[in-house]
C-alpha cells in the first residue's frame, strides 16, 4: 500500500447506528419516484423483481467485503491507489466522486421539487432548498457520529410511520392487482432487476466511510443488514403500491407514497395525514442529503490527502446547489435522475469489484484473513 493518508475521522460508530444510518439513507429513495420506476419494469410482479435484487445485491456486497478484508483499515481511495496505481486509482476515485456529486445534486433537486409540489406550492424553490442544504451543511460539518446518532433516534419513528401507513391502507388493497402472477414475464422481470440493481449503488458509501467501522466484521454486519432491511422495506412498499393502485396507475404517479398517505381515512377524524407522514419523510431526506454530502467531502479529502473534510463542506455544497437548479423542471429532473442512477450508479457499483479484481491479479493487499 502506498503512503498512508491521514484519517479524517478519528472515531467509530457502533454497528446498530451504522445500520440505521445506511437504511434511512437508502429507504428515503422509496419516498421519491424510485418505487414507481421499479413498478414500470416489473408491473404486477414487481415484488419478484425486488426479491431478485436481494441476492444480486448481497453478492456484490460480498465482493465489497472481500475488498475491505484485503485492505483492512484503508479507505476506498487507498484501496484503489494500492491496487491500480496512483494515476488509475485517482481516476477511478474521481469517477466515484462524480457519481456522488451527481447523486447529491439530483437528490437535492428531487426532494426540493417533491416538497414544493406536495407541501409548499407557492414557496420559492430556493427557500425550500435552503433549509435542506443548511441541515446538510450542519450535519456534514459536525461529522458522521452525530448523523449516525440522529439516525438511531429517527429509525423507529420512521418505521412506525411506514407501518402505520401500510396498516391503515390494508382495507383498500385489492389482491387481484398482483395478477398476472408473472407480470410482464420472468425475463422482463429479471432484466428489470438488473436495471434496478444500480439503485443499490449507495452501498459504495460503506467503502468510502469504511474507516469508521471498528472492524471488518462490523463493516460486513452493517452492509448486509442494511441491504436486507432496505430490500424488505422496498418489497413492502411496492406490494402496497401495486395492491392499492394497480401497476398501470402506480407507474404514472411520481409521489406514490404521498398518495398512499392521502388515502387514509378513519372515522372522518383520522384523515389526510400526509403532512405528518411527510415530517418523517423530510427527516429521512435530511439524513440522506447530509450523508451524501459528508461522503463527498470525505472522499474528496481523502483523494486530495486533506486531513480534515470540513473546509470542503461549503464549496461542495455550493457546487451541488448550483448544479441542482440546472434542470428546467421536475420532468427533466426525473429523466436525468433515471439516466444518472442507471449509468453512473452502475459505474459506482462496479468500481470496487474492479479494484478487487485488479488487486487479486496484481497480488496487492492480501490481508484477507485480517478482520
Amino acid at each position: 500500500m502506498s503512503k498512508t493518508h491521514a484519517t479524517t475521522y478519528g472515531g467509530h460508530i457502533e454497528p446498530r447506528a451504522g445500520i440505521r444510518l445506511i437504511v434511512i439513507t437508502m429507504i428515503s429513495m422509496l419516498f421519491l419516484h424510485y418505487p414507481v420506476l421499479a413498478i414500470s419494469w416489473g408491473g404486477p410482479a414487481t415484488w419478484q423483481l425486488v426479491l431478485m435484487v436481494l441476492p444480486l445485491g448481497l453478492v456484490i456486497f460480498w465482493l465489497y467485503t472481500k475488498l475491505a478484508n484485503r485492505f483492512p483499515g484503508a479507505s476506498l481511495c487507498q484501496m484503489a491507489e494500492a491496487a491500480t496505481g496512483r494515476l488509475i486509482g485517482a481516476l477511478l476515485m474521481v469517477l466515484v466522486l462524480v457519481w456522488l456529486m451527481g447523486h447529491l445534486t439530483l437528490n437535492l433537486r428531487d426532494f426540493t421539487e417533491t416538497f414544493k409540489t406536495t407541501l409548499l406550492p407557492i414557496t420559492p424553490i430556493s427557500i425550500i432548498s435552503l433549509l435542506l442544504i443548511l441541515c446538510a451543511a450542519a450535519a456534514a460539518w459536525t461529522g458522521l457520529e452525530g448523523l449516525a446518532r440522529v439516525s438511531q433516534l429517527l429509525f423507529v419513528p420512521i418505521y412506525l410511520m411506514l407501518a402505520l401507513v401500510v396498516v391503515l391502507n390494508l382495507p383498500h388493497i385489492d389482491a387481484s392487482q398482483y395478477f398476472p402472477f408473472w407480470g410482464f414475464g420472468l425475463k422482463r422481470t429479471a432484466l428489470g432487476a438488473l436495471a434496478f440493481l444500480p439503485m443499490l449503488s449507495e452501498i459504495t458509501l460503506l467503502l468510502i466511510l469504511g474507516q469508521v467501522f471498528r472492524s471488518a466484521r462490523v463493516f460486513r454486519q452493517v452492509g448486509r443488514s442494511a441491504l436486507i432491511i432496505y430490500i424488505l422495506t422496498g418489497l413492502g412498499m411496492v406490494l402496497l403500491l401495486v395492491g392499492l393502485f394497480g401497476s398501470p396507475d402506480a407507474q404514472i404517479n411520481p409521489f406514490a407514497l404521498f398518495s398512499v398517505a392521502r388515502l387514509i381515512s378513519i372515522g372522518r377524524w383520522v384523515e389526510r395525514i400526509e403532512a405528518v407522514m411527510i415530517a418523517f419523510w423530510v427527516m429521512a431526506a435530511c439524513v440522506r442529503i447530509s450523508l451524501l454530502l459528508y461522503a463527498a467531502c470525505l472522499h474528496l479529502a481523502q483523494l486530495l490527502r486533506i486531513p480534515n473534510h470540513r473546509p470542503l463542506v461549503l464549496p461542495l455544497l455550493l457546487i451541488a446547489e448550483a448544479l441542482s437548479v440546472l434542470p428546467e423542471d421536475f420532468a427533466a429532473v426525473l429523466r436525468t435522475d433515471q439516466f444518472w442512477m442507471q449509468t453512473a450508479g452502475a459505474v459506482a457499483l462496479a468500481i470496487p469489484p474492479l479494484i478487487l479484481i485488479v488487486a487479486v491479479m496484481r497480488k496487492k493487499g492480501g490481508h484477507s484473513r485480517a478482520s
Binding site: A6, G10, G11, H12, I13, E14, P15, R16, A17, F115, L119, L120, T123, I127, I128, L131, L132, L134, C135, A138, A139, W141, T142, E145, G146, L147, R149, V150, Q152, L153, L154, R268, W269, E271, R272, I273, E274, A275, V276, I278, A279, V282, M283, C286, I306, P307, N308, R310, P311
Partner: protein, 603 residues
C-alpha cells in the same frame, strides 16, 4: 493537521477540535467482558499513577517540608507587629465586625495575647470557654523567647519579646476546642477569620492558633420548594454546606463517600464541596471535575447556577448538562450511580454532574410509586414534553399550511372562531405566549399576598376579555394554555425554560415553512443534542449512543430489578446489587435461571 485545525477553528471557533473534547466514554454498544476488564484496569492504573505521584511529591517535600512551612510564614514573634498588620488589613477600627480582645496569660511575668474573631460568625460560648481556660491559667514554666532574625522576618517590629509560653503546651493542655490549627502566616490568619474561626496571637511566638468556633446563622432543614413530592422524604438542603453534607451522609453510611473542598472566588472565597464515592465513581470523572474546579478563577461565586456554567462543556446551551437539586435523597441516589455532586456553601442546592436528558425528565418520586404507575406518569411527562415543545408550532403549521389535515368540522370551527380576529395566527400565538410569560414572571416576583390578585386579573384579561374583544381566538388561547401547562410537567426548572425558548424558534420555523420548516429545525435540534456532552457524557445517552441499561428511559422497572448502574458514568463497579434482590422469592431465582422451580416442585 495543525494548519487545518487552525482553519477549522477560524471558521467556527466554538467547535471544539476532536482532541479537545473530553470524553468519558463513547462506547456505543455494551462492552464485552474483555473491554470492561480493560477499562477497569485502566482506571486502576490511573489511580495507582496518581497515588505514586502523590507519594513521590511527599517524599520530595518531606526533608524540607517543615522548614519550608516555617520559612514561608511571615508572622513575627512581636505581637504588636502582627496585630497592626491584621488591623490594617481589616480596616480596624473603622470595621466594627472584627473583634480584637487583648488578654494576658497568667504567667510570671504575664504574656500578652490577643484574640480576634468576626462578630456574628462565631459561637460566643465556645470563645468564652477557650478564654476562660487560658485566663485562669496557673503559673506556668517560663521559656525564653526566640530571637528574631531580621533577614528572615523583615516585617518584624522594634520590640523583641523576652518571654513566651510553649505553644505546644497551650495547644495540648489548655485548648478545649476540637479543632486547633497552627498558623504561620498572615494570609492564613485572614482566611481563618473570614470563615468564622477565632485566631489567638501570642507574644513571642511566630505562630498563631486557629480555633474552630464557627457558628453561622442558618435556617433549619425545611421542605423543598421546587422539587415537591407527594410521597417520600421532605427534607431539603439549606444554605450551609456542612449540614447539607450531613444530610447526604445520613443516607449513605458508606466510608467510601469522600468530600473534597475547594475555595473558589477571589472575593467570595466560597467553599465548594465535591462529593463522590471513592472506588465506585470513575477516577477519570473525578479527576476532570477536580481539574475544572481548580481552574475556575472567578470574582464572586454565590450561586449554583454560576458554578454550573463554570464547569459545563457548553455553558451557552439552553438545556443544562448538569442537574441542580435541592433534595438530599436524590443527591444520594445519583452518588450511588457514580455521579459527582458539587455543593456550594451558602446555597441550598447541589449540582449533580453529569446528567443526561432523560435524568432531567425524572423526579424523586418516580421510584416510590408502583412500577406501572411510574411508567405511566413518565410517559405522560414525555407527552407533556412533546406538547410543550411542538404544540404551538404544529398549530401554526397546520392552520397556515396544512389545513386540509383537519377534519372538516374542526376546520370550520377554527375558521369561524378566527373570523373577526384581526391578527394573523402567528401574532396571536406569540402575543398570548408572551402574556403567559409575563404572568409567570410577575407571579414569581411579587409578594405572595398579591399572587392571587394577579392571577385573577390575568385570567380575567387573558381568559375572557381578549376572546370577547376578538383580539385572539379561543383556540389559540387553548393551545397556549395547554402547552404552558405541559411545560410545567417537565420536572427540571432550567429544562422547562430552555424548552420554552426552543418552542419559540420552532414556531418561527413553522410560520415560515410549515411542517417542512418545523421538521427541518427539529432535525437541527436533534443534531445539536446528539453532539452535546458534559464531562464526557453524551446528553442523549443511553439512547444515542446506545448503551445499557435502557430500561429506565420509557418504562420504569422496580428498584429491585435495576441491577446495574448506568453505563454512561463508567463506574468502576457496574453491578448495583445482586441479580436476585428478593432472595425470599423462589420465582426470582427461577426467572433468573430460566426454569420454574415451582413447576419442578409440583412434579
Amino acid at each position: 493537521m495543525a494548519l487545518w485545525n487552525k482553519i477549522a477553528n477560524a471558521i467556527d471557533p466554538s467547535a471544539p477540535s476532536a482532541d479537545a473534547i473530553f470524553t468519558l466514554s463513547d462506547r456505543g454498544a455494551q462492552p464485552t467482558a474483555e473491554q470492561s476488564g480493560l477499562s477497569r484496569l485502566k482506571d486502576a492504573m490511573l489511580r495507582a499513577q496518581r497515588a505514586l505521584t502523590h507519594i513521590e511529591n511527599l517524599a520530595q517535600a518531606l526533608p524540607e517540608g517543615q522548614k519550608a512551612v516555617e520559612e514561608a510564614g511571615d508572622l513575627t514573634p512581636d505581637l504588636c507587629t502582627n496585630l497592626d498588620r491584621l488591623k490594617a488589613i481589616f480596616n480596624i477600627p473603622s470595621n466594627k465586625d472584627v473583634v480584637v480582645r487583648p488578654f494576658n496569660l497568667m504567667t510570671d511575668p504575664p504574656v500578652e495575647c490577643t484574640l480576634l474573631y468576626i462578630d456574628g460568625m462565631t459561637n460566643g460560648d465556645r470563645i468564652n470557654l477557650a478564654m476562660h481556660t487560658m485566663m485562669q491559667l496557673p503559673r506556668m514554666d517560663r521559656e525564653r523567647a526566640e530571637p528574631i532574625d531580621p533577614e528572615t522576618h523583615p516585617v518584624g517590629g522594634d520590640r523583641v519579646p523576652e518571654w513566651t509560653v510553649s505553644l505546644d503546651r497551650i495547644e495540648r493542655e489548655l485548648m478545649v476546642s476540637a479543632a486547633v490549627i497552627r498558623l504561620h502566616d498572615i494570609k492564613s490568619c485572614i482566611d481563618a477569620l473570614l470563615v468564622g474561626d477565632a485566631v489567638i496571637l501570642i507574644d513571642g511566638q511566630k505562630s498563631a492558633l486557629e480555633i474552630d468556633v464557627k457558628l453561622y446563622p442558618t435556617r433549619s432543614v425545611g421542605e423543598p420548594a421546587n422539587e415537591r413530592t407527594v410521597w417520600g422524604p421532605r427534607d431539603s438542603f439549606i444554605e450551609s454546606i456542612r449540614p447539607n453534607v450531613v444530610l447526604v451522609r445520613r443516607r449513605m453510611k458508606d466510608p467510601r463517600l469522600v468530600t473534597e473542598f475547594f475555595t473558589i472566588g477571589r472575593v467570595s472565597r466560597s467553599w465548594v464541596g465535591m462529593l463522590y464515592l471513592n472506588g465506585l465513581t470513575s477516577p477519570k470523572l473525578v479527576a476532570e471535575v477536580r481539574r475544572r474546579l481548580s481552574s475556575i478563577d472567578l470574582d464572586m461565586l454565590t450561586s449554583v447556577g454560576v458554578l454550573q456554567q463554570s464547569i459545563e462543556d457548553r455553558p451557552n446551551s439552553v438545556l443544562p448538562g448538569t442537574m441542580v437539586t435541592e433534595r438530599p435523597d436524590r443527591t444520594a441516589a445519583y452518588l450511588s450511580e457514580g455521579n459527582v455532586v458539587l455543593m456550594l456553601d451558602n446555597t441550598s442546592q447541589a449540582l449533580i454532574c453529569p446528567v443526561t436528558f432523560w435524568s432531567l425528565m425524572q423526579t424523586a418520586e418516580d421510584y416510590n410509586v408502583r412500577p406501572w404507575t411510574g411508567t405511566a406518569v413518565r410517559w405522560i411527562r414525555f407527552l407533556g414534553l412533546m406538547l410543550a415543545l411542538l404544540g404551538p408550532a404544529l398549530y401554526i403549521a397546520i392552520v397556515n399550511y396544512h389545513a386540509d389535515m383537519l377534519p372538516t368540522e374542526l376546520l370550520l370551527f377554527i375558521a369561524k372562531s378566527r373570523e373577526k380576529v384581526p391578527m394573523p395566527s402567528l401574532v396571536e400565538l406569540l402575543a398570548m405566549d408572551l402574556s403567559f410569560w409575563l404572568i409567570l414572571e410577575a407571579t414569581a416576583r411579587i409578594p405572595s399576598e398579591l399572587g392571587s390578585t394577579i392571577g385573577l386579573i390575568a385570567s380575567l384579561i387573558l381568559g375572557q376579555a381578549v376572546v370577547q374583544a376578538k383580539i385572539v381566538g379561543p383556540v389559540v388561547l387553548i393551545v397556549v394554555a395547554l402547552t404552558s401547562l405541559a411545560a410545567f410537567v417537565v420536572p427540571n426548572y432550567l429544562t422547562g425554560i430552555g424548552l420554552r425558548l426552543i418552542r419559540i424558534t420552532l414556531v418561527a420555523a413553522a410560520a415560515v415553512l410549515g411542517m417542512y420548516g418545523l421538521v427541518g429545525f427539529f432535525f437541527g435540534l436533534l443534531l445539536y443534542l446528539v453532539h452535546m456532552r458534559t464531562l464526557g457524557v453524551p446528553f442523549l445517552a443511553p439512547l444515542a449512543p446506545l448503551s445499557r441499561p435502557l430500561g429506565e428511559l420509557g418504562d420504569m422497572p422496580p428498584d429491585y430489578q435495576m441491577e446495574t448502574r448506568p453505563g454512561y458514568t463508567r463506574t468502576i463497579d457496574e453491578q448495583r446489587q445482586p441479580p436476585v434482590v428478593r432472595a425470599w422469592d423462589t420465582d426470582s431465582f427461577a426467572d433468573r435461571e430460566g426454569k420454574s422451580l415451582k413447576g419442578a416442585e409440583r412434579e
